[in-house]
Amino acid sequence: MTMKRTLAVLFTIAVFADNLSAQNSPTVIEIPAAVAATEAEMKPYGEIIEHTRVKIEMLPIPSGKYWMGSPTTEKQRRDDEGPQREVTLKPFWMGKTEITWNAYDVWMSDIDIQIRKVYGKKANERDLLAEPLTISKPTAPYTDMSFGMGTRSYPAICMTQHAARTFCQWLSVKTGRYYRLPTEAEWEYACRAGTTTAYSFGDDAKKLGEYAWYYNNAGEQYQKVGQKLPNPWGLYDMHGNVSEWVLDQYDKEGYAKLGKQLNNPLSVPTTLFPRTVRGGSWQDDAAQLRSAVRVASTEDWKEQDPQIPQSIWYHTDALHVGLRIVRPLKTPSAEELKNLWNKSEPIQYDKDNPKEFKE
């Protein structure tokens, strides 16, 4: 890692810790409903991306305990869905829907910066801090990454986990509130929303059409978010539409190596592939939409990228993979960010930046 890169990373992390320890800091956008000191105070709120009209609806998810994975009796179960583990989780907010192109494209195409320039608005402190996380991040693609399936209110897709993580970092600095991808355990907990059945509405796949976009009803493409029925905690499209990135490395051995009682588990990635996405998609059949299903990322997801080294930002063939964000009630310390939540190996260097390129 070059010195410059190291400093940039530490700087970003430090910015965070500073921001979030001082609620009145000018680098936090004031949203009264977003303020909570305890779990009891957590409310739904709409996060905003300054200079745009984009709003990201966040819902509180209570702390709790659940059985992660599926029982061996579940129909269509796969080996990597177990053995089941009892997992305890701290409270967090989660995006009511998948992140749409409306939000993702602001980061991807620097739309907030363009708007500022066009309307002659000055960059504020947050804008300046966020710039290193958005200019040339990601690099401009060569193709329409929505692949003609639509953008307004449709879920963003085709990003690598690194891109999804960087989006979260950028959003964090832009808002002053810490956002990240969910852990796999958080994702399944939120998907189940207190249920223990194959789907969050029961075991009957015939009802899927009311809750999810999948192969049978999506018309061979993703659909606008939030149109089907939500799960018991108010979250939309957890079972279908697009699969969603989580932070964890994928292990085909399932949860066997993990302890029987788990507190806020996270498997920090140490290899680029396979990492984990959760929730079925418009490409999948009913069985693949079950709450416990795990999907491993593969190098095939970059097959169409005709450049080598291939982009660290795009999975040109993952038209079924998007993301959903979470915000933990308690913002991690700079140390925890560095060693856990923001950590993944190998570090991704951009080939387009000679200072960053290193193999």
Partner: protein, 452 residues
Amino acid sequence: MSETKPSRRQFLRTTGTVAATAGVLSGVQAVHAAGEGTIRLAIVGCGGRGTGAISNALSVPNGDVQLVAMADVFEHRQKASYESLVRRFPKTVKVDKENMFLGFDGYKKAMDVLRPGDIVVLTTPPAFRWLHFTYAIEKGLNVFMEKPVTVDGPGSKRMFALGEKSKEKGLKVGVGLMCRHCDARGELFQRVRNGEIGDITMMRAYRMAGPTGYAAVPPKPEGISDLMYQIKNFHGFLWLSGGAVSDFLIHNIDECCWIKDAWPIEAKAAGGRHYRGDNIDQNFDNYSIEYTFEDGAKLLMNGRTMPGCHKEFASYAHGTKGSAVISQSGHAPSKARIFKGHVMTKENLVWDWGKAEPNPYQLEWNHLIHAIRNDEDYNEVQRGTMASLVTSMGRMAAHTGQTMTIEDMLECDHDFGDGLADLTLDGDSLLQPAENGTYAIPQPGLNPDYEY
């Protein structure tokens, strides 16, 4: 359609130009025929696409291909390219240190490492294509060159002549218009020839995808020369790449012309620089080109690099009996389909490919190596140059505000590549900035004869 100009029709037909009459066997191309020996590769221009092309070359089934020499003007690019390739292909990437060349004359040194019948991969910005191709022909090398192959009229004239010369020598030359190698589009082409959508009267193509590649170029930082900054951001500068039109729109234009089996004779176009901010490149951020074919049919090509707008990367054909998707999802898969009428719904679907589409970037290499191994005629220069010229015609129509014909293009005296052979790493560029660091940009109507 007029039948009165056979020679011109011949010139403007897209097919038939590749499969020339039985070529002259010079002995050069026979070196690797019948599977004799390893084919050696040299790459000139080690960017992402060039490196990707080498990766495809080294992945040809039973190809027996090795990479032996590399040339670039950026050391970090060359290093990145080498390291990525050697990791993927430890057995077939065999580039000795002394065969890594840096500098504008590196192309000669890299080609000097090869023997006649080996392949040089020309993947620098397109400005250099004719210069490098000239030397490749001299050395009797087979060639793979990326698109576009020219960026202006004078360069196209040179390339047409070089193409003929390479054909006379029996060289196999592939051009990176990989959509031409797509199986699904190939079947669509046959079906359209069979009259399944009637006569094509109108085509539409779109490459509207937000900021793309290096089309928008921010002001030059300290510590890099104008020349090297321009090359690094070659999509931004017309002399190097033909800009966003030539680099991005050529695939859609080419696949439409293929399906139409003709090249347009005229273009008129609109475009402008709506959001340029402090960017210093020469591109517009939106282009709308109307091409006219000899039979009066139209091709409407829309290109846009503005963020936040409707996105579409697709080509469609409309005929007297029905319509077709030529491609609908970027380059691959094409999702080629035929419909009755012009409402492209499932109910109206007449034909689709119906199976997985192989990667066309790989197919174009499989085909080239096959032609070399079997000593079959294989020369895509003529059609690659026509595609490049037609694309430049649309761009020039937008940039000058004038209607442009093929003849106008070929007669144009603005040679973007004048002085190209004399560039040096620490020398001036062919395009020099004004004192404030900006460059001459197209001024439609006010500068009606030249693009800058």
